[in-house]
Each structure stands twice: as C-alpha cells, then as structure tokens.
Symmetry: C2
Subunit: 337 residues, 2 copies
DNA sequence: GGGATTACTGCAATCGATTGCACTTCCGCC
DNA sequence: GGCGGAAGTGCAATCGATTGCAGTAATCCC
C-alpha cells in the first residue's frame, strides 16, 4: 500500500538492474553510469513517482541521517529558538531531528535516550544538565556523537555550546551597582545545572570583588513558581534588606515579579529585578524586564554544526564554544532611592 | 561500531536461531517459545546489552512507529503545548515524532512533507492551514493517515481537532457588549487558515445579530508585527471610532498593545483589547490580557489519539473533534466610559 | 591484430529484524 | 504400536536500498 514504487520497480520499468538505478540516482555514484542510462532512469523514476526509502538506506549505510535532541521542556520559551537553530543547520544537510522532553526527570531521560538509540540516531544534542550522565557516556563509548547545548556536562568532555554567562552576570552587577544598588539577592538556578552553578559562582565572586552584599537563594528548578516561592519566603520572614534581585533566568525573575506584587512592593521603584536569557515577551512584561540576551538560535546552529563535524569525523576534539551575550536594559531596574 | 549487539549475536550466544530470539523478545509471540528458552534468551540478551534496531524492524514490518508533526513555527507559543500533548500520547505507545516548521511557506511545507514520507512516517499531524494541500491528498490516497490539529483543511475531509472558536468569539463579544462597547475592530487572522476564517465569520455574524458596528481588518499572518501595523494604519488615518479590538489571536492583540502605546492611547482605559488562545505569559503582559483559553495540550493529545486510531484501523471516519474554550477576563478590557 | 584499459552494468551479499512454513520431538489415545 | 496433534524450533525469504566484485563490450595503443 504505502510507497509502492521502489528501486526494483524503477529498475524493471527501465530494463536495468536495481544497482544501476541506485547509482544513477545518487549524485556521488552517478558518474559510474553512462549519461544516457542515467538520464533515462531519472526520467522513469520521476514518471513513476519514485520516493527513496530513507529507512532502508539507513539500514544498509549505517547512517540514519537522524539526530536526537534532548531538552527539558519545549514550553520553556528558550528552547524553541534553540531547536529551530538546530533544524536550520540540519535540514539543508539532509538530517532530521527527534526532539524529546525530559521534564528534568533523570529516569525519563534515560528511557528517552534509549529509545533514540534504538532508532539509530547518528548523534545527540543534549540541553539537559547532567551530574551523572551514565547512559550518555556509555553510548559515547559506543561511538555515538554527543554535543551539549546551553548547559555543560561536568566531568564528561563533550563538545559544548554555551552563552557567556559569566560576562552576563558581571554586566548585570555592574549595571546595578552603577544605579546605586548595594544589597543583592540572587535567585540561583538548580545547582546540578552548569548554568545555575556558573551564574551563581560568578555572582558570588563579583560581589566579593566589588565588596558588596550578595545573598544566594537556591532553587530546585528554573520555574516561575520556584522564583515566586523563594521571594515569598524571604518577604514573609520580613527580610527586606535588599534592593535588587538577580535571577538565574527570566522565569525565576517573573516569579519574583509575582511575589513582589502580592507583597505590595513595586518593581523597579522598591526592588529592581533582572532576568537572564531575554526569552520572548520579556519586553512586554509588567514592567518590561531588564535581562541578558543569549543567542539561543545561534547556539542551536552552532551545536548542530559541531555535531555534524563530529559525525563526519572532521572535528573530533571536544571543543567548547562560548557565544557572547548582551545586557538588555528595560524597565525593571532603576536607580536606588 | 554502533550497536554491536544484534539479534544474531544473542542467538549465537544462546545457541539458538535468531528467529527464536526474535519471538522470545516480542511479548506477542513469546508464547510460541518454551518458557525456559525464553527465560534464558532474555537473560542473555540483557547480559549482552542487546538493543533492538527499530529501523530494521520497521523495514520488515512496514511500520516505522514514527509520525510527522507539521507546524508553522515552534516559537509561536501555542505550538509547544500542542507538541507536548501529542508526545504525551504517542511516546507511551512506542511512537516518536518528527516535528517540522514550515514558517507558513507552502514550498517549504511540500519539501518537508516529502522528506517525512521518505522517512516512512506512519502518519501526519498537520497544524498548518491548507487551501490546496495537493501533496497531502496524494499521500492520503496512498494510505498515509493525516489528522489536522488547530486548523482544519477546507475541502479535504481529514479528521480534525479544533477549539470551539465560534463560542470563543461569541463570549468575547458578549463580554464587551456587557461592558458597554458598541464599536468593534476585528484584527482577523489569515483568510487561508480555518481559524482566521471561522473567527472573523463569527465576529461578523455576531455583530449583525446584536446590531452593533464591527469592522474587519485582514492580516496576512498571525504575528505581532502585523497586528501592530494594522492598528498603526488605522490610527494614523485618524480612525478612532472604536472602543474595542477583538484580535484573531494573542500575538495580533499584543501588536495592538504596541500600536496603542506608541499612539499615546491607554489600554483598557481608551481601548479594550482581547486576544485569543491564552498563550503563556499573557497574564504577565502590560496590561494582563483578556483572552480565550484554548486547550492546546489537550488538542495535541486528541489529535494523536485520532491519528493512532486511524493507523490501527479502528476509526476510519473523518471525525471532527471540537474542544471547549473559556473566556479569561483580565485587565485589558474595561467598561466603556 | 592482439593485449591492456576503460566504461558500464549486473550479480549477489548485506544491513537487522520478522514471519510463513516445514520439520522434529514428544504425548496422548485408541 | 502407530497415528494425530501440539509444542517448540529452525530455515529461508523478505523489507528496500547500497556496494564490492566480476563480467562484458568497447576503446586504445603499439
């Protein structure tokens, strides 16, 4: 029923062997066939509506032209641009991507990665943090190529594409200090993610360097609810000795917005808030959010490029690519009164 | 290199034929094998770290357990929930999804659908509008199952899952009329999309029914820029005889926000604005957006369910599923002064 | 004119699984 | 004791392509 026209059908119609058809239709081997035969075969295959079966080809060539993309959650707005960046590099090169969501759950992740492997993906782009990464290491040893994007994998030397988080945090603090702020809260991202760790470390070291007060609050995940709960807890305990909140990402910052509002505090008049990522719509928030722009689309592109160069064996060293960020000053930060 | 352990390896280790291993490992055929042999084979296959090759299996069984999801643009926030809904139904059933972005470009769409077919997808979930849909019809005739989600395909009787847009528009107008509004602008979505068409038709008929003034402005796409440009044009021409804007979706509404703001008009004091979809973060906009909630995740689930039932031959009628919506009243609508 | 290339094309194996059919063995039963 | 049937397993074909090797015919060169 499906896909009735096969190589053999074309071969029969053209009165040649399937091998000849295969060679004619493949640009790399076309030269092995006489011009005339190739022309005839192409015409016939078009007339018959032949469509190659990528799956069968992959079985024989041991290349599926398929890669797996492992992300925590597609509904987190930073991931769609990454995925589209990946696609934009992959698709013109004949690859397709399976995107899977782990929801930050390690077991789910293991299961999904296994299923990707069973589907014979040629490589993996992973955007979830890993402290253990057992399966990934195993597969890597078996020859599967892996590239990390957005987060890094501590311990395992996979190639990785990240944004320059350190520079971002520094820029934020510099900006806030210039506005007269002296007492900071940092809503840190998960400690088992490289971004969370790096951002909070930079926050601490920058505060120390500048001799200002910076308190770090740990969060389990990068979510609005966590951010809100963290600030709620602070304010409910009467802690108000801070004028600025440096959030680990935009979602945590948005949670801070919510908490401040329910506690009758105004942003930026009472407290300045800064996000991280410049995800879509941050400019439309109330107030428009000051944040750090990370080039997510480009990170996706770069990750895909790295992966394919690994697959093609061009570039086998575990290179680290860091893309520059920029501070976007909007309405959620103001001079301290 | 990759995936060294095959059925044949397990068979050799167990001293049996590959067929026996295959039967032992497949729950459906396990009964054909003696309990003891099955047990032994399972143990050995586990010890050896055998992973089935889904691609090879698909070649033989003519089922790839893969489906294609065709959407306009993943960075439009209504699509991630739909995709996740689809995944949530598909993955537990052994399926995986290829998600492709067409950017509303018909040629790109044709190319991507072809490539999905070459990859032997068992079915397609399509979220892009179609006036022509030539390729899709062709494939459907060849036995490929297709389900539409979010939008319908005029003419082609594919099963479809949509939200109850008519009810949504009615609720909006009712709400606005109750607030004393009498002069409406509708920022219509693309006329070649079923949602755009249905929403604007309902808008017109409701205005007629209630005897109020409603002007429709056509837009090429569902984007912030289009919405802004449309309202800009209106205001630049001095047209101000309206007190409420009913947007075809949240992005157009957000564009209206921008335009009003740059023209010194306040929402909702001067003009009320209503969106459609209740996409993420609409509650955090300035002002929080009144909109219609469409159950995108559930629509994805339902579409996946329909598709699998088509594939399994359970349900072959082109059923239409309409999911209920609800009006979410927030801060962008107010009583007319 | 004959041996050596070259240019095409076909044969058949192969990728890793699934499955119809045939075969053997073992029981049960008359 | 022999026959029928069931249970368990193996053989080999198959899915749709790719590719090393071999074979044929044409061409070249001395």
């Amino acid at each position: 029923m499906r896909n009735r026209v096969t190589l053999a059908d074309v071969a029969k119609a053209a009165g040649v062997n399937a091998a000849t058809v295969s060679r004619s239709l493949n640009p790399a081997t076309e030269s092995q066939v006489s011009k005339e035969t190739a022309r005839k075969i192409k015409k016939i295959s078009k007339d018959l509506g032949y469509t190659p079966n990528t799956v069968a080809r992959g079985l024989r060539t041991r290349k599926s032209l398929t890669i797996g993309v492992v992300i925590p959650d597609l509904t987190n707005p930073i991931f769609p641009p990454i995925v589209r960046g990946i696609d934009s590099y992959l698709i013109p090169r004949g690859y397709s991507a399976f995107v899977v969501n782990t929801d930050g759950n390690h077991e789910i992740e293991q299961t999904l990665i296994s299923s990707l492997m069973e589907r014979q993906v040629d490589g993996l782009i992973v955007a979830t943090g890993h402290t253990e990464g057992d399966l990934l290491t195993q597969y890597h040893q078996r020859g599967v190529k892996v590239v990390m994007v957005n987060r890094e994998s501590p311990g395992i030397p996979f190639p990785a594409v990240t944004s320059d988080d350190s520079a971002g945090i520094s820029a934020i603090i510099e900006h806030l200090v210039a506005l007269g702020h002296k007492n900071f809260i940092h809503l840190a991202g998960p400690a088992d993610s490289s971004t969370g760790l790096l951002r909070s470390r930079t926050f601490v070291s920058e505060c120390k360097r500048l001799g200002i007060s910076g308190k770090v609050i740990k969060n389990e995940s990068y979510s609005i609810d966590e951010g809100q709960a963290a600030v709620d807890k602070l304010l409910d305990h009467g802690t108000r000795n801070f004028s600025a909140i440096v959030a680990g990402n935009d979602l945590l910052a948005l949670g801070a917005y919510h908490s401040l509002r329910t506690h009758g505090l105004k942003c930026p008049e009472d407290v300045s808030v800064v996000g991280f990522n410049n995800m879509p719509f941050t400019a439309d928030f109330q107030p428009p959010m000051t944040t750090v722009n990370a080039p997510h689309f480009d990170m996706g592109v770069e990750a895909a490029r790295l992966l394919l160069s690994q697959i093609d064996g061009i570039d086998t060293a575990p290179v680290k690519v860091t893309l520059p960020v920029s501070l976007i000053i909007r309405g959620s930060t103001a001079r301290v009164l």
